[in-house]
Amino acid sequence: MPVHISVVVPVYNEEENVPVLVDAVRDALGHDLSWELLLVDDGSRDGSRDAIRAIAREDARVRLVPLARNYGQSTAMQAGFDQASGDVIVSMDGDLQNDPRDIPQLVATLDSGFDLVAGYRLRRQDKLVSRKIPSWIANRIIRRVTGVNIRDNGCSLKAYRRELFDRMRLYSDMHRFIPAMAASLAGARITEIPVRHHARLHGQSKYGISRVLKVLADLLTIAMIRSFRDRPLVMFGLGAAAAFGLGLTFVAATTVAVLSFREVKANALVFPGAAVLWFGLSCYLLMLGLIGEAVLSGHTEEGKSGVLLRETPR
């Protein structure tokens, strides 16, 4: 029986959760061989790796993907995707806050004609101030910036068509923005369904409120790549135009100052000086835009489009 569903779970210091997780997935997906569970050990310092290895030895459907060190969630997920053999990939957290019983519903929704199905946590079991409120704000901003209408970007439980990952790779901390990347890079059809959410049983949460700045930087990146991936010169050109406009403003201010003060004093150099700085910035941004175009042309493969197209049924 060919593998249909590959469940990919990044694991970092979840020794106690691993056996529970495997049992939960077994119960949810049944006892045939149509699925596999890839547990990516992201350089855990506890006994997670041995725990996974012991289970994998007895159950061929469970596979260990051992990373050499701790790379972070995005890279760990990508490592799992690279090893997955199913045509449907499901990602999930290793902390048991997601419920594997939702997987069949996700996959069924995916098979009804989508490239990505995201879960959203219906009754979230997390702390209000440190987790839920920042998450609510972040989701609003992410929705606005990325243009992808997903209620809950922080929920890892998602199902994907395998082809999606032939067109994009996760790096840095991009796992939070998979729907946005899938939409802009692969033109994916995306929907979401409600999923269950449980409070943490064992272990520590690996998130902190300190990640807000990082998420903001990543969001800026995503927005830029989404809008200007195919024309970086336009983005930098717009910035250059704004700087040029500011320069012109200061030229005008200089003119006014010279005309109204009559005798030009040495300290009237301030306005023209500022104008020169803005013009300099304008040139600099244009040049950077050209570099961006050079990078783009260096990485474009002939006859290859990233976008997923699907023939519509007649």
Binding site: A68, F236, H299
Partner: protein, 318 residues
């Protein structure tokens, strides 16, 4: 069958290569190891070839390669790696820094399971100034690497050949080989090695050398922390500088609204300059992100740990 390849890059220091070879090879031979020495010479060190040729003539396992153009120590070392026949590589500076028995200790540590063993000169017997500058360098290094290394300056490393082939080496970062190996998840051990008497002289480097060391540190810090997320580095700097600029401009705006003229205030230039520099830094970060984004599909992004369970071992993507 050669087990151990010792690479000696010879740049500008003027050591007695014959003495180096005799001292180190005697100990290796005494330990019953099969080894070869590879000397990689800068073009202007050609006259060392005669010394080495006479050693080779006596049947010693010595190979000598000379660069056609000046390369520098790191590049010489890197160029010599593919020429090695051994399953373990020992990097040796041409200038003797540790006493010969330390080599055997390093090799044994690698045989016992370490991926890389690096020599840490201890006890150090050289001048207080040498030790002080080394101390400062390594104190600066720690925040970049997140791990304490005590003596990267020794340059004496024993490393498994297959491990060496998996570490991305470029530029002048070869001196940070233990750091890079540890970062890739390999087992790196520091081994105390008695300092060589020839290494005890006072070392005062040129200002250029110190500047290069500092740049190396900055480069390493960026490489380790921000290679995949340049915007976090440049964005933080840029937004901080821009924010300072906006504050200056806001103060001026308030003063202008209160009726003070600002056309003759150099403060205005400072404010604009800070904003401009900040925007430039952020823009550079964005270009960095574009480059990372497009190269992410081609670049190896992770390494799987070795395993006795028959799982696939290898790279993320070739």
């Amino acid at each position: 069958m050669t087990d151990i390849s010792c690479i000696v890059p010879v740049t500008d220091r003027v050591p007695d290569l014959g003495e180096l070879y005799r001292e180190y090879s005697a100990v290796l031979a005494g330990a019953g190891l099969s080894f070869e020495f590879i000397f990689a010479l800068e073009p202007w060190r050609r006259r060392d070839e005669e010394v080495l040729a006479s050693i080779r003539a006596s049947g010693s396992p010595v190979r000598v390669f000379a660069a056609g153009q000046p390369l520098g120590e790191s590049a010489l070392l890197r160029a010599a790696i593919p020429l090695c026949r051994g399953t373990m590589v020992v990097t040796l500076p041409a200038y003797r820094r540790v006493q010969a028995p330390a080599l055997v200790a390093l090799i044994e540590r690698v045989r016992a399971g370490a991926d890389l063993a690096t020599a840490m000169r201890s006890p150090r017997q050289d001048s207080v100034f040498n030790r002080l500058q080394s101390r400062v360098f390594h104190a600066l290094l720690t925040p970049a690497t997140g791990r304490d290394f005590h003596d990267l300056g020794s340059g004496v490393n024993a490393i498994r050949r297959d491990v060496l082939d998996q570490i991305p080496l470029y530029g002048d970062f070869l001196r940070f080989l233990p750091v890079l190996a540890a970062r890739e998840g390999f087992r790196v051990e520091e081994v105390a090695a008695p300092q060589h008497p020839a290494d005890r002289g006072l070392r005062v480097h040129s200002i250029g050398t110190y500047a290069r060391r500092l740049l190396d540190l900055l480069g390493l810090y960026f490489l380790v922390r921000f290679t995949e997320k340049p915007l976090r580095f440049f964005g933080l700097i840029g937004s901080g500088v821009s924010l300072a600029g906006f504050l200056v401009l806001a103060v001026l705006l308030v003063q202008r609204l209160q009726g003070h003229g600002i056309a003759d205030r150099p403060m205005l230039l400072l404010g604009v300059l800070l904003v401009v520099i900040g925007v430039q830094a952020v823009a550079l970060g964005l270009i960095g992100e574009i480059i990372v984004h497009f190269s992410a599909t081609h670049r190896r992004s992770y390494r799987l740990a070795p395993s006795g369970e028959g799982e696939r071992r290898g790279m993320g993507r070739p």
